[in-house]
Protein backbone atom coordinates (compact mmCIF):
# COMPACT_ATOMS: atom_id res chain seq x y z
CA UNK A 1 0.00 0.00 0.00
CA UNK A 2 1.69 3.19 -1.19
CA UNK A 3 0.28 6.52 -0.10
CA UNK A 4 1.27 9.90 1.20
CA UNK A 5 -0.25 12.47 3.49
CA UNK A 6 -0.85 15.96 2.13
CA UNK A 7 -1.84 19.06 4.06
CA UNK A 8 -5.14 20.53 2.87
CA UNK A 9 -4.53 24.24 2.36
CA UNK A 10 -8.23 25.13 2.36
CA UNK A 11 -8.81 23.90 5.91
CA UNK A 12 -5.50 24.19 7.70
CA UNK A 13 -5.37 27.27 9.91
CA UNK A 14 -3.96 28.43 13.21
CA UNK A 15 -6.03 26.02 15.26
CA UNK A 16 -5.56 22.74 13.40
CA UNK A 17 -3.73 21.27 10.42
CA UNK A 18 -5.92 19.04 8.33
CA UNK A 19 -4.45 16.36 6.09
CA UNK A 20 -5.79 13.82 3.66
CA UNK A 21 -4.29 10.86 1.83
CA UNK A 22 -3.07 10.48 -1.75
CA UNK A 23 -3.00 6.84 -2.85
CA UNK A 24 -0.53 5.34 -5.34
CA UNK A 25 0.52 8.61 -7.01
CA UNK A 26 -3.10 9.49 -7.69
CA UNK A 27 -3.95 13.15 -8.23
CA UNK A 28 -6.86 13.42 -5.85
CA UNK A 29 -7.10 12.74 -2.14
CA UNK A 30 -9.48 10.41 -0.33
CA UNK A 31 -11.46 13.48 0.73
CA UNK A 32 -11.85 14.58 -2.91
CA UNK A 33 -13.09 11.10 -3.79
CA UNK A 34 -15.53 11.11 -0.88
CA UNK A 35 -16.90 14.45 -2.07
CA UNK A 36 -17.20 13.30 -5.69
CA UNK A 37 -18.96 10.10 -4.67
CA UNK A 38 -21.57 11.88 -2.55
CA UNK A 39 -22.05 15.45 -3.69
CA UNK A 40 -24.79 14.69 -6.19
CA UNK A 41 -26.95 12.96 -3.60
CA UNK A 42 -25.98 14.73 -0.38
CA UNK A 43 -24.68 18.14 -1.44
CA UNK A 44 -25.86 20.04 1.62
CA UNK A 45 -24.28 17.49 3.96
CA UNK A 46 -21.03 17.61 1.99
CA UNK A 47 -21.00 21.41 2.29
CA UNK A 48 -21.71 21.17 6.02
CA UNK A 49 -18.79 18.77 6.47
CA UNK A 50 -16.48 21.16 4.60
CA UNK A 51 -17.71 24.08 6.70
CA UNK A 52 -17.04 22.17 9.91
CA UNK A 53 -13.55 21.23 8.75
CA UNK A 54 -12.88 24.90 7.99
CA UNK A 55 -14.12 25.95 11.44
CA UNK A 56 -11.95 23.27 13.07
CA UNK A 57 -8.91 24.49 11.16
CA UNK A 58 -9.36 28.19 11.75
CA UNK A 59 -11.50 28.67 14.87
CA UNK A 60 -11.87 25.81 17.32
CA UNK A 61 -9.28 23.10 16.70
CA UNK A 62 -10.23 19.42 16.56
CA UNK A 63 -12.03 19.22 19.86
CA UNK A 64 -12.79 15.67 20.91
CA UNK A 65 -16.53 16.30 21.14
CA UNK A 66 -16.71 17.15 17.44
CA UNK A 67 -15.91 13.52 16.61
CA UNK A 68 -17.41 10.11 17.19
CA UNK A 69 -14.73 8.13 18.94
CA UNK A 70 -14.12 4.42 19.17
CA UNK A 71 -14.45 3.83 15.47
CA UNK A 72 -11.06 2.13 15.40
CA UNK A 73 -8.82 0.17 17.73
CA UNK A 74 -8.13 1.46 21.23
CA UNK A 75 -5.80 4.45 21.10
CA UNK A 76 -5.36 4.52 17.31
CA UNK A 77 -7.19 7.85 16.89
CA UNK A 78 -9.56 6.51 14.24
CA UNK A 79 -12.88 8.28 14.59
CA UNK A 80 -15.63 9.82 12.50
CA UNK A 81 -16.66 13.43 12.16
CA UNK A 82 -19.77 13.71 14.33
CA UNK A 83 -22.92 12.59 12.58
CA UNK A 84 -26.27 12.19 14.27
CA UNK A 85 -29.02 9.70 13.50
CA UNK A 86 -30.55 11.97 10.91
CA UNK A 87 -27.39 12.51 8.87
CA UNK A 88 -26.72 10.42 5.81
CA UNK A 89 -22.93 10.51 5.56
CA UNK A 90 -20.06 9.25 7.65
CA UNK A 91 -16.52 10.57 7.21
CA UNK A 92 -13.67 8.71 8.90
CA UNK A 93 -10.65 10.55 10.27
CA UNK A 94 -7.59 9.97 12.41
CA UNK A 95 -7.41 12.57 15.16
CA UNK A 96 -4.13 13.45 16.85
CA UNK A 97 -5.13 15.84 19.63
CA UNK A 98 -6.76 19.14 18.77
CA UNK A 99 -4.12 20.25 16.27
CA UNK A 100 -3.89 17.52 13.65
CA UNK A 101 -6.50 15.53 11.79
CA UNK A 102 -6.06 13.14 8.86
CA UNK A 103 -9.28 12.98 6.88
CA UNK A 104 -9.93 9.75 5.08
CA UNK A 105 -13.06 8.70 3.29
CA UNK A 106 -16.41 7.21 4.22
CA UNK A 107 -19.75 6.94 2.60
CA UNK A 108 -23.49 6.92 2.95
CA UNK A 109 -24.73 5.57 6.25
CA UNK A 110 -27.79 3.45 5.56
CA UNK A 111 -30.46 3.94 8.21
CA UNK A 112 -31.11 0.24 8.57
CA UNK A 113 -27.59 -0.73 9.67
CA UNK A 114 -26.62 -0.77 13.33
CA UNK A 115 -22.88 -1.36 12.93
CA UNK A 116 -20.42 -0.30 10.26
CA UNK A 117 -19.56 -3.93 9.61
CA UNK A 118 -22.96 -4.26 8.00
CA UNK A 119 -21.93 -1.84 5.23
CA UNK A 120 -19.17 -2.91 2.87
CA UNK A 121 -18.06 0.60 1.83
CA UNK A 122 -17.91 1.95 5.38
CA UNK A 123 -16.08 -1.16 6.54
CA UNK A 124 -13.51 -0.82 3.76
CA UNK A 125 -12.83 2.87 4.47
CA UNK A 126 -12.70 2.32 8.21
CA UNK A 127 -10.27 -0.61 7.95
CA UNK A 128 -8.06 1.33 5.57
CA UNK A 129 -7.72 4.20 8.05
CA UNK A 130 -6.96 1.72 10.84
CA UNK A 131 -4.07 0.38 8.76
CA UNK A 132 -2.82 3.91 8.00
CA UNK A 133 -3.02 4.81 11.69
CA UNK A 134 -1.07 1.69 12.65
CA UNK A 135 1.66 2.54 10.12
CA UNK A 136 1.88 6.17 11.26
CA UNK A 137 2.21 5.03 14.87
CA UNK A 138 4.98 2.62 13.82
CA UNK A 139 6.95 5.36 12.07
CA UNK A 140 6.60 8.13 14.65
Amino acid sequence: MKYKLVKLSSFSGNECSIYSILLNDEQETLLDKFIKENKDTFLSEIKNILQRLRTIGYKTGARIDFFKLEEGNPGDGVCALYDDEESNLRLYCIRYGTQLVVVGSGGPKPKEIRALQEDEKLTEENYFLKRVSAQITQRI
Binding site: S9, I35, K47, N48, Q51, K59, D65
Partner: protein, 155 residues
Protein backbone atom coordinates in the same frame (compact mmCIF):
# COMPACT_ATOMS: atom_id res chain seq x y z
CA UNK B 1 5.45 9.50 4.55
CA UNK B 2 6.23 10.50 8.19
CA UNK B 3 9.95 10.25 7.54
CA UNK B 4 10.86 13.71 8.72
CA UNK B 5 10.36 15.34 5.32
CA UNK B 6 8.06 18.34 5.13
CA UNK B 7 4.68 17.17 3.93
CA UNK B 8 3.37 18.81 0.83
CA UNK B 9 0.45 21.19 0.74
CA UNK B 10 -2.47 20.19 -1.42
CA UNK B 11 -5.02 22.49 -2.98
CA UNK B 12 -8.19 21.04 -4.45
CA UNK B 13 -10.23 22.95 -7.02
CA UNK B 14 -13.22 20.76 -6.17
CA UNK B 15 -13.04 21.70 -2.49
CA UNK B 16 -12.32 25.37 -3.14
CA UNK B 17 -15.23 25.65 -5.59
CA UNK B 18 -17.58 24.12 -3.03
CA UNK B 19 -16.27 26.37 -0.26
CA UNK B 20 -16.65 29.41 -2.52
CA UNK B 21 -20.28 28.48 -3.15
CA UNK B 22 -21.07 28.63 0.58
CA UNK B 23 -22.79 31.80 1.74
CA UNK B 24 -20.58 33.52 4.37
CA UNK B 25 -23.63 33.78 6.63
CA UNK B 26 -24.00 29.98 6.53
CA UNK B 27 -20.34 29.62 7.46
CA UNK B 28 -20.93 32.02 10.34
CA UNK B 29 -23.80 29.84 11.56
CA UNK B 30 -21.56 26.77 11.59
CA UNK B 31 -18.81 28.75 13.34
CA UNK B 32 -21.29 29.91 15.99
CA UNK B 33 -22.59 26.39 16.69
CA UNK B 34 -19.08 25.03 17.09
CA UNK B 35 -17.85 27.97 19.17
CA UNK B 36 -20.86 27.70 21.49
CA UNK B 37 -20.20 23.98 21.90
CA UNK B 38 -16.54 24.74 22.67
CA UNK B 39 -17.53 27.32 25.26
CA UNK B 40 -19.88 24.86 26.97
CA UNK B 41 -17.18 22.16 26.93
CA UNK B 42 -14.62 24.58 28.40
CA UNK B 43 -17.00 25.57 31.19
CA UNK B 44 -17.65 21.90 31.98
CA UNK B 45 -13.91 21.30 32.13
CA UNK B 46 -13.47 24.17 34.61
CA UNK B 47 -16.15 22.66 36.82
CA UNK B 48 -14.70 19.16 36.27
CA UNK B 49 -18.13 18.07 35.07
CA UNK B 50 -18.87 14.96 33.04
CA UNK B 51 -21.79 14.89 30.61
CA UNK B 52 -24.00 13.35 33.28
CA UNK B 53 -23.32 16.30 35.61
CA UNK B 54 -24.52 18.78 33.00
CA UNK B 55 -27.48 16.54 32.24
CA UNK B 56 -28.48 16.65 35.87
CA UNK B 57 -27.87 20.41 36.17
CA UNK B 58 -30.20 21.20 33.27
CA UNK B 59 -32.76 18.62 34.34
CA UNK B 60 -32.74 16.55 31.18
CA UNK B 61 -33.15 12.79 30.92
CA UNK B 62 -31.50 11.74 27.68
CA UNK B 63 -27.67 11.60 27.88
CA UNK B 64 -27.35 11.80 24.09
CA UNK B 65 -28.58 15.41 24.16
CA UNK B 66 -25.33 16.51 25.84
CA UNK B 67 -23.27 14.68 23.19
CA UNK B 68 -25.27 16.49 20.52
CA UNK B 69 -24.83 19.89 22.24
CA UNK B 70 -21.07 19.39 22.40
CA UNK B 71 -20.79 18.07 18.85
CA UNK B 72 -20.83 21.52 17.28
CA UNK B 73 -23.80 20.63 15.10
CA UNK B 74 -26.65 21.57 17.44
CA UNK B 75 -28.84 24.54 16.67
CA UNK B 76 -29.30 25.84 20.21
CA UNK B 77 -32.58 27.47 21.15
CA UNK B 78 -32.57 30.60 23.30
CA UNK B 79 -34.22 28.54 26.06
CA UNK B 80 -31.37 26.03 26.04
CA UNK B 81 -28.71 28.75 25.99
CA UNK B 82 -30.29 30.43 29.01
CA UNK B 83 -30.48 27.10 30.86
CA UNK B 84 -26.80 26.47 30.06
CA UNK B 85 -25.82 29.96 31.19
CA UNK B 86 -27.40 29.32 34.58
CA UNK B 87 -26.10 25.77 34.94
CA UNK B 88 -22.53 26.64 34.02
CA UNK B 89 -22.42 30.25 35.21
CA UNK B 90 -21.18 31.49 31.85
CA UNK B 91 -22.34 34.04 29.30
CA UNK B 92 -23.52 32.57 25.99
CA UNK B 93 -25.94 35.34 25.02
CA UNK B 94 -24.88 38.98 25.08
CA UNK B 95 -28.37 40.39 25.59
CA UNK B 96 -28.94 43.26 27.99
CA UNK B 97 -25.38 44.38 27.81
CA UNK B 98 -24.73 47.96 26.85
CA UNK B 99 -23.98 48.09 23.19
CA UNK B 100 -21.03 50.04 21.94
CA UNK B 101 -21.89 53.70 22.21
CA UNK B 102 -22.48 55.48 18.96
CA UNK B 103 -20.70 58.80 19.25
CA UNK B 104 -21.82 61.56 16.96
CA UNK B 105 -19.33 64.35 16.92
CA UNK B 106 -19.65 67.64 15.19
CA UNK B 107 -17.63 70.76 14.77
CA UNK B 108 -19.12 74.14 15.19
CA UNK B 109 -17.27 77.33 14.59
CA UNK B 110 -18.64 80.54 15.99
CA UNK B 111 -16.93 83.78 15.25
CA UNK B 112 -17.98 86.81 17.11
CA UNK B 113 -16.18 89.82 18.36
CA UNK B 114 -16.77 89.95 22.05
CA UNK B 115 -15.35 93.38 22.69
CA UNK B 116 -18.77 94.83 23.32
CA UNK B 117 -20.00 91.81 25.28
CA UNK B 118 -17.53 89.64 27.12
CA UNK B 119 -20.06 86.84 27.47
CA UNK B 120 -21.61 84.65 24.79
CA UNK B 121 -23.99 81.70 25.14
CA UNK B 122 -23.95 78.92 22.59
CA UNK B 123 -25.57 75.48 23.00
CA UNK B 124 -25.79 75.81 26.76
CA UNK B 125 -22.13 76.71 27.01
CA UNK B 126 -21.22 80.08 28.31
CA UNK B 127 -18.05 81.55 26.88
CA UNK B 128 -16.50 84.46 28.61
CA UNK B 129 -13.27 86.32 28.42
CA UNK B 130 -10.73 85.52 31.00
CA UNK B 131 -10.40 88.36 33.39
CA UNK B 132 -13.96 89.54 32.92
CA UNK B 133 -16.36 89.29 35.79
CA UNK B 134 -18.96 86.58 35.43
CA UNK B 135 -22.51 86.97 36.65
CA UNK B 136 -24.25 83.99 38.27
CA UNK B 137 -25.95 81.53 35.92
CA UNK B 138 -28.11 78.48 36.19
CA UNK B 139 -26.14 75.28 36.77
CA UNK B 140 -27.41 73.81 33.49
CA UNK B 141 -24.81 75.91 31.73
CA UNK B 142 -21.22 74.86 31.52
CA UNK B 143 -18.50 77.45 31.47
CA UNK B 144 -15.56 77.87 29.15
CA UNK B 145 -12.99 80.58 29.59
CA UNK B 146 -11.56 82.11 26.42
CA UNK B 147 -8.14 83.46 25.77
CA UNK B 148 -9.03 85.10 22.47
CA UNK B 149 -11.99 87.39 21.91
CA UNK B 150 -12.35 86.49 18.20
CA UNK B 151 -12.98 82.87 17.64
CA UNK B 152 -14.60 80.01 19.50
CA UNK B 153 -14.43 76.46 18.31
CA UNK B 154 -16.65 73.92 20.00
CA UNK B 155 -16.20 70.20 19.32
Amino acid sequence: MMNGKTMETYTSKLIDDLLDSIDPIDQEKVDAKMLLAAKVADAMKVKKWKNKDLLKAVGKDNPSIITKWLSGTHNFTVDTLIELQHALNIKLLALGEKEDEVVVSYNKTVSQKVQSSPIMVCDNVIFWMKGQSLPSFSSRFSLTALNSPHSITQT
